[in-house]
């Protein structure tokens, strides 16, 4: 019994990775439902094909010309109606999950942390409510170095809203462990909400072709317990800029634009 349940546990996700946000439970649910339908149907079809190939193959002693039947209305009706029901059920689960997942944080959580995510060719800028910006681009000669990457600092177990802004072409904000993609499109206003449960460092990457060094448009997400995060945030002067891990004062004139962007998102 114990063995069976642990076995079931290990296959019950069918390979879908574990996410680290509160929202990703819906992915597992849908992934599993899809597999519970898809596996038997796939197996059925493959077995029918395999059986037919073996059983009805041309061989000595088999009649050369078989029976010439063409229609069987009950069977045809069955394989029209049953798939309709299956996709209706999948759609029902999907519709519910999608509604639940896209719910914004409750208004009671008025102090949602709002961060502006700017994507540009080929790097990221994360602007915090006080105008502090984390900026970075990558080393285009060696993708194995992570030291230059921009870092998005987030508190754990706190609702976070990211305001996604593209400064030039279409980019996509993608963190594998969030099980989530969202595009940064000029002219489209995108806000996404997360609550990350597990502290840690996660890899992020642009996921839409955006020019020559698309592959290098990476970033890191560092999720810290709330008190550590608050300590970090308190140490970031307003309008300061950290570029590739090195802090410095803002270049003249940049803070205003950062602030306006930051406040645009934050207020």
């Amino acid at each position: 019994m114990h063995l069976a349940s642990s076995l079931l546990g290990s296959v019950s996700n069918f390979g879908s990775p574990q996410g680290v946000t509160k929202q990703d439970g819906w992915n597992h649910l849908l992934w599993n439902i899809s597999f519970w339908f898809a596996l038997p149907i796939t197996l059925l079809v493959v077995c029918l094909i395999g059986y037919a190939l073996f059983r009805y193959r041309e061989r000595p002693g088999k009649e050369r010309v078989p029976a010439q039947f063409q229609y069987h209305i009950p069977i045809e009706a069955a394989y029209t109606i049953i798939p309709l029901v299956v996709v209706a059920v999948i759609f029902g689960f999907m519709f519910n999950a999608e509604n639940q997942q896209s719910k914004s944080p409750a208004p009671a959580a008025g102090n949602v942390l709002k961060i502006t995510v700017d994507g540009f060719q080929w790097g990221w800028r994360f602007v915090y409510p006080n105008g502090h910006a984390e900026v970075g681009t990558a080393d285009y000669t060696n993708i194995n170095t992570n030291s230059d990457l921009p870092v998005l600092y987030l508190p754990a177990n706190e609702p976070v809203q990211l305001h996604l802004v593209s400064l030039d072409v279409v980019h996509t904000f993608y963190v594998k462990d969030f099980l989530y993609n969202r595009d940064l499109i000029p002219g489209v206003d995108n806000n996404v909400n997360f609550t990350v449960k597990t502290p840690g460092i996660y890899q992020g990457q642009c996921n839409n072709i955006c020019g020559e060094y698309h592959a290098y448009m990476r970033f890191l997400v560092q999720v810290m317990p709330a008190d550590q995060y608050n300590q970090w945030y308190a140490n970031q002067p307003a309008c300061s800029v950290t570029t590739a891990g090195i802090s410095g004062p803002p270049a003249p004139g940049t803070c205003d634009s950062q602030l306006s962007k930051g406040f645009q998102a934050g207020l």
Partner: protein
């Protein structure tokens, strides 16, 4: 002058000239024939050979990309070249190979033969279609010769990356014009084939006696008429932006980049079915012939094709779930619904095999390969049709694996058709051993290439990246995938060797080597100009079978 004349008497037997003798003038051969011919068979062959060449060329580009990705942090080719390769690989595979190979190659060759017509409705227009298509192919390739290289923004070229400021140089322009030319070629073919099917069917060939292949081509051609003009318009807008100071996709001047995505995918998703439906038809014909049975559920099959065509016009935004700018439930529902008619087709194919006498030769094996690969692509399609899961998997290698299973499934269908009609087209039989070797190599190579990519996508590898960090757990799977791609390459080489060798020295095939059922097998191999000297009576959707097996007609009822 009398109002009614006596019906003219048919000329007596001994003075009945062959059609070949009536048509005057010298008959061009070789290169001149290739360039000038308005014969639908020659033009169909032109498309098939050019399409196969495009498949090989774009396949070599894929091998370049897989070699770049075989180890992390690789510098086999530069980012710049890598981006050109995947852009032109995708563009050529879709616009020059997969689509035209099916609807224009097989479509041109087979539609008039299958409905008992002497040629297409507009033979010279048909010739123009081919030359526009070849021009488009040449322009797409010519991008590599320009100083900035070919286009580098992916086959769906999302604005504003395609604007002159982000992608300067003639590479992008050649891409634009090249695709526009293949688009016009497709529209012209569509007009031609629809007219042919509606007006040139032989006496007795009513719509519900047309082979499934012809039905599928008909629906495909309507999809072309609905989809390609939208693409061409979008390209005109982009051209205006790039060269005439327009701002359709420039937010600074009030343009909307998202407009491009809507226009492109409004074309792009019907395009998937424009590519798929002809091969569905091919596989249907091959299965029926090789199982020696009528197509199971013939009318249900047509209904499924029609509903796939209708639904495909309403699913475009499932490529845009992650833009945050589309109505998710509607497009999810439509996308999931397409699984139903596709499922009907699968069960009809199995029904066709059921209790048949299945000849396990190369065309049949490739058809089975199609069924299995396409099934796999369909199942992952149902997963990706759900927005919540697409948010996770969008643009990762899971998507790459999904659509390669779909399209390589169709390639298996295309090769099934190529082998199946090879005796008709060349008059010679191909070599079974090379054919089977090619099938096994392709099956192993293809699955080794693309199955690991599902896992790569789940592990978070984005598509279109030129290289990757070594510490993300992607190394081994990429290695497998690259090795698989080389095996796939060998499989293609085996088919090419087979086709060339058999063309020179294959045994003479005869008119109907498969004991097939449809009208193209009623004329000689290869068919003469203007096709038929005489037609068998057409009393069902398989006149040749009825003529050859008068005691084994389709059993009526169920």
């Amino acid at each position: 002058m009398t109002l009614l004349e006596d019906r003219p008497q048919p000329p007596s037997e001994e003075h009945n000239p062959l059609l070949m003798d009536i048509v005057p003038g010298p008959r061009p051969a070789g290169l001149v024939k290739y360039i000038t011919s308005t014969d639908h068979k020659q033009i169909g062959l032109n498309y098939l050979v050019t399409g196969l060449l495009a498949f090989v060329v774009a396949g070599i580009m894929a091998l370049g990309m897989r070699t770049q990705l075989i180890v992390p942090n690789n510098h086999f080719i530069t980012a710049d070249v890598y981006n050109q390769l995947f852009t032109i690989h995708g563009t050529i595979m879709l616009f020059v190979f997969a689509g035209p190979f099916g609807f224009a190659g097989f479509g041109n060759y087979l539609v008039p033969l299958m409905i008992g017509a002497p040629d297409m409705a507009f033979p010279r227009f048909n010739n123009l279609s081919y030359w526009l298509y070849l021009g488009g192919f040449s322009l797409l390739m010519a991008g590599f010769l320009t100083n900035n290289g070919a286009a580098q923004f992916g086959w769906f070229g999302y604005a504003p990356l395609t604007e002159a400021i982000h992608s300067p140089g003639p590479g992008g322009d050649l891409w634009l014009v090249g695709i526009a030319l293949t688009g016009f070629s497709g529209i012209f073919s569509a007009v031609n084939i629809i007219t042919t099917i509606f007006t040139l069917r032989a006496p007795g060939m009513v719509m519900f006696r047309m082979p499934i292949f012809v039905w599928n081509i008909l629906v495909t051609m309507f999809l072309v008429l609905l989809a390609f003009p939208v693409l061409t318009s979008a390209f005109a807008l982009l051209w205006i932006d790039r060269h005439l100071g327009g701002n359709f996709f420039n937010t600074q001047k009030g343009g909307q980049p998202i407009l491009w995505q809507n226009l492109f995918w409004f074309f792009g998703h019907p395009e998937v079915y424009i590519i798929a439906l002809p091969y569905f038809g091919v596989v249907t014909e091959v299965l029926a012939s090789m199982c020696r049975k009528p197509v199971f559920g013939y009318k249900g099959m047509i209904a499924a094709t029609l509903s796939i065509g209708a639904l495909s016009m309403g699913v475009w935004a499932h490529h845009m779930y992650t833009t945050g700018a589309v109505l998710l439930p509607f497009f999810a529902a439509m996308s999931l619904l397409i699984a139903v008619p596709t499922g009907i087709k699968f069960f009809n194919w199995i029904g066709t095999m059921w209790r048949g006498t299945i000849v396990l030769n190369t065309p049949l094996l490739f058809s089975i390969g199609f069924l299995i690969q396409f099934l796999m692509g369909g199942v992952t399609g149902v997963i990706l049709a759900q927005p919540v899961l697409d948010f996770q998997l969008h643009n990762t290698y899971f998507v790459v694996a999904h659509f390669h299973y779909v399209i390589m499934g169709l390639v298996f269908g295309g090769l099934a058709g190529l082998y199946y009609w090879y005796p008709k087209m060349t008059g010679r039989m191909f070599d079974e051993r090379w054919g089977k070797a090619s099938f096994i190599l392709l099956l192993i190579g293809f699955n080794l290439t693309f199955f690991p990519q599902h896992d790569l996508g789940l592990r978070g590898m984005p598509r279109r990246i030129e290289t990757y960090n070594a510490g993300l757990g992607w190394n081994f799977l990429n290695e497998l995938s690259s090795i698989g791609s080389y095996i796939t390459g060998l499989g293609v080489v085996a088919t090419v060797i087979n086709l060339v060798k058999s063309y020179r020295s294959g045994p003479i095939a005869g008119d109907n080597p498969w004991d097939a059922q449809t009208l193209e097998w009623a004329c000689s191999s290869p068919p003469p100009d203007h096709n038929f000297e005489a037609l068998p009576p057409i009393r069902s959707e398989r006149p040749v079978w009825d003529a050859n097996h008068p005691d084994m007609l389709t059993k009526v009822g169920h």
